[in-house]
């Protein structure tokens, strides 16, 4: 038992090399693909990745630990506001702004996790997170002196200096994409390590059966608090990137419907899978841009697709693909194995 679990664990960490390398190749090819195949632009690819990062973080809490938050857009908005405020009022540059926004959002997430996670679970948790997001939204809308009210904070310049000797010019969309893509890859690496660590295994156990995990001696509440805080890391980074990307932050980013968008992205791509949220965010942002060219009611059409997935394929696109792939392999295996499999089927 112990040895097989150990070897499975070792194998899984090696398994990560191939997907992460493939993901790097996808990131390199994506701008070309967007421009020449989909006839779109690099900026959209950047947008997809920013929301992919956010959804990946969100999914640690939902897809991997089993608690649905309807307020994760709050972390995106909060980090965006922290960074934007310092950039605009104190002329902070990229690294300090990112660092402060990240640290402050993490502190907020930590306090919030301590307050909310032990007190609520399931749909009650969803509702409380929704309420938290709305409080931040209203503060953003009303606290004009700091947040700029309904207009938000505008005129954030793209970062000019990232690394010594870097040839990147962030006002060039492709160069900005490179920055976001590198961060997206690092974020994926980070989340891969988290999900495939012993900690991630406990999270999966909590998702599958909270009570059993408790009986096995795990402190479920503590694990959930940690998962909550870790799930806020990537949305915080995405929030800062989004501020730079749009050149502005506004309170609408924290609205509960934005949190709903993240939920939709994750479910469309596949909540029980690792790569689903990224795929879903990409598809969602692409559909948003593409469908809104034809109709201003794009949200309704995306809603129809979403409802269809909830009803008929809650495992999402990546989940469907995985199942299909598994069937293919099983089919091939039974073909090479030949008779025994078929006879077993006849017997039953």
């Amino acid at each position: 038992m112990a040895t097989s679990a150990l070897s499975a664990h070792r194998r899984s960490s090696w398994n990560g090399l191939v997907p992460l390398a493939a993901w790097a190749i996808v990131l390199v090819l994506l701008p070309w693909f967007m421009q020449h195949v989909l006839k779109s632009n690099v900026a959209l690819a950047t947008n997809m990745l920013i929301f992919g990062i956010a959804a990946l973080g969100f999914n640690l809490l939902y897809g991997h630990t089993g608690e649905l938050s309807f307020g994760h857009a709050a972390f995106i908005g909060l980090a965006g506001y922290f960074a934007a405020y310092q950039i605009l009022n104190h002329g902070w540059t990229w690294w300090p702004a990112l660092g402060l926004a990240f640290a402050a959002t993490m502190l907020f997430a930590f306090i919030l996790a301590r307050v909310i996670v032990p007190r609520s679970t399931g749909i009650y948790f969803s509702m409380l997170m929704l309420a938290v997001g709305q409080v931040l939204l209203f503060i953003g809308e009303r606290w004009n002196a700091v947040t700029g009210g309904d207009d938000g904070l505008q005129g954030i310049p793209r970062p000019t200096y990232i690394l010594p000797g870097s040839p990147l010019n962030m006002n060039n969309e492709l160069h900005f994409y490179v920055l976001v893509a590198v961060i997206a890859w690092l974020a994926t690496l980070f989340m891969w390590r988290v999900v495939h660590s012993p900690f991630g295994a406990v999270c999966h156990a909590i998702r599958e059966n909270k009570q059993r995990a408790e009986f096995l001696g795990y402190n479920v509440t503590r694990y959930k608090i940690n998962a909550f805080v870790l799930s806020a890391t990537l949305p915080a980074i995405a929030g800062v990137l989004l501020g730079y990307y749009d050149g502005a932050v506004n309170p609408g980013e924290m609205n509960w419907t934005e949190s709903g968008d993240i939920v939709m992205m994750t479910l469309l791509g596949g909540a029980p899978t690792f790569w689903g949220p990224i795929l879903g965010a990409g598809l969602f942002k692409f559909m948003q841009q593409y469908v809104s060219n034809y109709t201003q009611f794009w949200e309704g059409y995306i809603g129809i697709v979403f409802v269809g997935f909830v009803l008929f394929a809650p495992q999402g696109i990546w989940g469907l693909a995985e199942a299909w792939w598994r069937n293919m392999r099983a089919g091939r295996a039974s073909k090479t194995a030949g008779a025994p499999e078929a006879s077993a089927e006849n017997a039953s």
């Binding site: 649905l68 969803s126 509702m127 309420a131 709305q134 309704g300 995306i302 909830v310």
Partner: protein, 302 residues
């Protein structure tokens, strides 16, 4: 509240009028939250679509009132929403009961988005004004001041509906089933009660209350396609404050939040900027003292 005392002594009439305004606003919250709460209590379904039913109820009232007159339009809109709710439950939501509860939540969120876009497509984005007509247009002298007849109708109709719902819950077999099902619906269905039918009826009843709230809201404030998104959040807060699945929780919670909002807006200088925050602050206060809400029962949704 020294400020309130000052107002009460200087201008008692205005204070009473403010309290009445708060009560009418609260009545809308009570209707909306009660509809949400009986569905949530019995089926464990957080119904985002409730906000869309609310908005749709307001818009249908708006359109029908041009032909039928305001009062029949409100009733008709509420009935339409009941039918729509029952259709939605029996065709889609029913399939999701065996799934994790989040799936129903997500389904209703998707339904919310779709209905709001349909409203935008039919009625457009610009807010529509709808003023009370006929005998509802005037005002009645209540002694302390002239008070708009329509607001009195809101109070009277809500109280009537609340009494009916209460009697259904307490005096009928259906109510018995609902109350027992809120505790343990599996057990009730084992006893031979047709739970799927009960679920559909309750979903219809909840949607009816949501549509009614929308119809009553329409002449009080402007209607716009996003009204549902704002109101559904307040309804959630009322449910959290009052306690999940509790009739009196929705009533008391809704009235308190409506009153608090109105008092903030009218008595505190610059208070209108805090209007949206007040319900949340109140919710936090309640949760610290009573995590299950004012009337929340032990053992539900653990």
């Amino acid at each position: 509240m020294p400020l309130a005392t000052v107002y009460l002594t200087i201008m008692p009439n205005q204070m009473i009028a403010t309290i009445f305004d708060g009560l009418t606003r609260g009545m809308l919250y009570v209707l909306l939250a009660l509809g949400l709460n009986i569905i949530l209590g019995l089926m464990g379904v957080i119904n985002f679509a409730h906000g869309a039913f609310f908005a749709l109820g307001a818009y249908i009232t708006f359109t029908l009132s041009q032909r039928l007159g305001l009062f029949p339009a409100i009733i008709a809109a509420a009935l339409c929403m009941a039918v729509l709710g029952m259709i939605m439950e029996s065709t889609f939501i029913r399939r999701l009961y065996s799934r994790p509860p989040e799936h129903v939540l997500m389904f209703t969120f998707g339904a919310f988005l779709i209905i709001v876009q349909i409203i935008r497509k039919i009625w457009g984005d610009t807010p529509q004004p709808l003023s009370p007509t006929g005998f509802l247009a005037g005002s009645i002298n209540l002694g302390f001041s002239q008070y708009p007849t329509f607001r009195l109708l809101v109070v009277a109709l809500t109280v009537l509906v609340l009494i009916i719902v209460y009697l259904i819950l307490v005096r009928t077999n259906l109510g018995l089933t609902i109350r027992a099902g809120t505790r343990d619906s599996e057990m009730v269905s084992i006893l031979g009660i047709n739970m799927p039918l009960t679920f559909t009826i309750v979903f219809g009843l909840g949607s009816l209350l949501g549509g009614l709230a929308g119809g009553l809201e329409a002449p009080l404030y402007n209607i716009d396609p996003n009204m549902g998104a704002t109101y559904i959040i307040i309804a959630f807060l009322v449910v959290i404050v009052g306690g999940i699945g509790s009739f009196w929780g929705a009533v008391v919670g809704g009235l308190i939040i409506g009153l608090l909002q109105e008092l903030t807006v009218q008595l505190i200088p610059g208070g209108s900027s805090a209007e949206d925050i007040v319900p949340f602050a109140f919710m936090l206060l309640i949760l610290l003292v009573r995590p299950r809400g004012l009337f929340g029962a032990e053992g539900l949704f653990d």
